[in-house]
Symmetry: C2
Subunit: 335 residues, 2 copies
């Protein structure tokens, strides 16, 4: 079996650690493994199966000899290191949003547009987490009839904000139970027993950067420049797995039965839709796995050509690390 040298940029963060786990889980043919992070993590030892790998500081010369670099760092670091990664001849599969809308950079959910990997010039972007989960849930609908518009409201877990999110929720829950001061470091306000309707920063028109990703990235992934998406992103006190309530509008009218049958057949999706037995997607059930659960499928009441549904998926896995490793699998398949 041919092996590929892999580096993880940002290996010690929430997504980086998950990438390491998923490379192993999916038996990615890893040759040399380089774990790169900032200076303060240098010397930390991480396990990869039987191997123990010491974290190195990411630098301009860190990428020599690498075939694949999985990026789990900030936009700034992605931009800083991208030229050095591609100059070293590696393919950069980047989870940041730095290059997603660059026309030379494929933006890929392998179950939807794997073939786009082919036009890469050294960088492939991993889409936004809520976008991946929503598009995974509706891709079967898009095959029945082209999706023209979506109205989405998200319920996003605290782990979407990085490792600090779950710690903050835990610490605040402890303070609420035992009587202590509520401290806010990761989030601008208390998140325990609260909701924060802001993820990302605000644009001029009142939308957040996070909210616009579903339209902008959805257009690129579905190859549909006319797709319209209205989205409201809300942080909820859930540890892991994002959920989305979404109404999907299509060119043709679809029956609920056909939509259910289509979603049940889709790779990476599970139809969880049996109201009589109280079966529907819940974030607790999708956590720590790669499958997106889709349920509550019903006719939209505003427009004939509409379907409304609820979906959940683990945003650290399918919404980030798993999707990135799947892209890397496509890259080596094409080599």
């Amino acid at each position: 079996m041919k092996l590929y040298n892999v580096a993880i940029l940002g290996a010690t963060g929430e997504v980086g650690r998950e990438m390491l786990k998923i490379l192993k889980e999916r038996n990615f043919p890893v040759g040399e493994l380089r774990l790169l992070a900032s200076a303060r993590s240098v010397g930390k030892v991480m396990e990869f199966g039987d191997r123990k790998v010491t974290v190195e500081e990411a630098g301009e010369n860190s990428f020599a000899g690498m075939d694949i670099v999985l990026g789990a760092a900030s936009n700034d670091l992605a931009k800083k290191f991208a030229p050095f990664i591609t100059a070293a001849g590696a393919v950069f599969v980047d989870n940041s949003s730095a290059f997603r809308m660059n026309p030379d950079v494929p933006l890929v959910i392998p179950e939807i547009n794997a073939e786009d990997v082919k036009y890469n010039k050294g960088i492939i972007s991993n889409p936004n987490c809520s976008t991946i989960i929503t598009l995974m849930a509706v891709k079967g609908i898009n095959k029945l009839s082209k999706i023209t518009a979506m109205n989405a409201a998200t319920y996003q877990a605290v782990s979407g904000a990085g490792a600090g999110g779950p710690i903050e929720l835990h610490t605040q829950n402890e303070a609420l139970l035992n009587g202590g001061a509520i401290e806010c470091k990761t989030f601008p306000y208390q998140i325990a027993q609260n909701l924060i309707p802001q993820i990302g920063s605000f644009l001029e028109d009142g939308y957040t950067t996070e909210e616009m990703k579903m339209q902008n990235e959805g257009r690129k992934i579905f190859h549909n420049q006319d797709l319209k998406v209205t989205c409201t992103c809300v942080r909820v006190p859930v540890v892991r797995s994002h959920s989305i309530a979404v109404s999907v509008y299509t060119e043709n009218k679809l029956s609920v039965e056909d939509v259910k049958a289509a979603i049940a057949k889709e790779d990476g999706c599970r139809l969880v839709d049996d109201p009589a037995n109280k079966k529907y997607p819940m974030p607790l059930d999708t956590s720590d796995q790669n499958i997106v659960f889709v349920g509550r499928i019903r006719k939209d009441l505003l427009f004939e050509n509409g379907i409304t549904l609820f979906c959940c998926g683990d945003q650290v896995r399918k919404g980030a690390a798993t999707n990135a490793v799947q892209i890397a699998e496509e890259v080596i398949r094409l080599k």
Copy 2:
């Protein structure tokens, strides 16, 4: 000052206790006060200002001499006692959903359709909690241009399920922190750090009874039988205050500025919409008060005649008890 004899049916529950508090807060001219509940609460003493009132068992003869009966009991109990309440000459302001769609029963949010109180024949219904909060948030828009449709996703607090909801969230949070078994009595699944996309029971078409209330009750309150509403109701691990992400479609195109100005002037609403300073509605901020907060107001991206916003309100107060007491105020104003 003329005083009115008031009974609370279901006085010991979440909403009943709040009704008692709000009668006092709003200086309702209470003469005799009768607190009615099931046999197991009989003898319990509740405070109303300086008065101490002993809870009595609700029975067919409990309503003699009463002017107003505030209902905070189940649909079944509301149906059982309604004939005795009206026969006793009292006006029944009922928070259950038993009579809401009855054409002889006004369904009233006083800031919207106070005049409907006039056609009552002894029963006036208090609308569903999420419906009240959403319609309060959008009533200013409806004045600018008739609302034709809404797409809503709710984030509903555990106290919406009665007194057992907050206890269950607390107990489960304790178990998660200290390591105990998760018990589910009020909700079908763990609600701590989870979401449950079911409130009410399921209808044939896949919607829940709760989800259909926003369309059915919205039509009656706004006097608009053509109003279309698609709604997804989700229980979230928040103690108090429901939140709703809603897209509102109107006959005419509206500007965001006009909508903000209109909402800012509405009774019972507060415009909380200053993204640059991270000001937006959050359930923690609206809890234990009567005002509905409205923010995140922006142009909908699907349709020209659309506005998308986020609102929060205390569903035990304005969503139930406060609204019922306000209806009672209208009743005595008309006497």
